[in-house]
Subunit: 131 residues, 2 copies
């Protein structure tokens, strides 16, 4: 059994990762983290380093608890949804964890295209948590 | 801790209930099933009775395992999403389980309005499973 989660250093990304870690501990299952942190132009070097350290801390914590954890870099040129779905299929995952942004700045509800795609196209169940 | 699930006697409804039962067993947590079966005009008496028996079987199984399970009838006049969200808030649930229909008859991907509303407005994480 495997849980797949995408990591981005945002509020909803951290919420998703935290929940995935909790689920992996509770189920004693393997966790695959897809690190999308280096893919965009939105983060500076300091933020990237800080996010990488954050991820290393979480990995060390899980390994300390005897759980298998694997961090993969995002495959460039793919949408995050494609990467998550492909990795979930490849690892025969039984769960993908995603983070949802609750609202736009004007207060409108949104469900982003990546979230919709993952919910509909994932080969397994999807756990959606709020940031 | 509580898991909330809506029960409808469809393929995706059964998938959601089965997964909710599995999660409740795995986490040793209480399960609240909202029975929407009597709300619509789509089911005949025989189907309703059969669905009720199905639900009773599941309830008995969970109680046999020492888990607390509660079945609530749908409050008439509300959208299923409203009922699930209200019950999740009231019971301080940590998970709502929903079933997604994978495609329309013409093969287009859909995410129904109830599913969208639950994903966005739920006070807790939402686990979406495919029918």
């Amino acid at each position: 059994m495997t849980i797949v989660v995408g990591f981005v250093p945002t509020k909803e990304g951290r919420a998703a990762l935290a929940r995935a870690v909790e689920e992996a501990k509770g189920r004693r299952t393997r966790l695959v983290v897809i690190n999308s942190n280096r893919g965009g132009r939105d983060y500076d070097d300091t933020a990237t380093r800080s996010a990488d350290e954050e991820l290393q801390g979480i990995t060390a914590d899980l390994e300390h608890e005897g759980l298998e954890v694997e961090v993969r870099q995002l495959v460039r040129g793919n949408e995050p949804a494609e990467d998550l779905i492909a990795v979930a299929a490849e690892t025969d995952a039984d769960l993908i964890v995603i983070g949802l942004r609750r609202r736009t700045p004007v207060g409108k509800l949104i469900l982003g295209s990546n979230a919709q795609r993952i919910l509909l196209d994932a080969p397994c169940a999807v756990l959606a948590v709020k940031g």
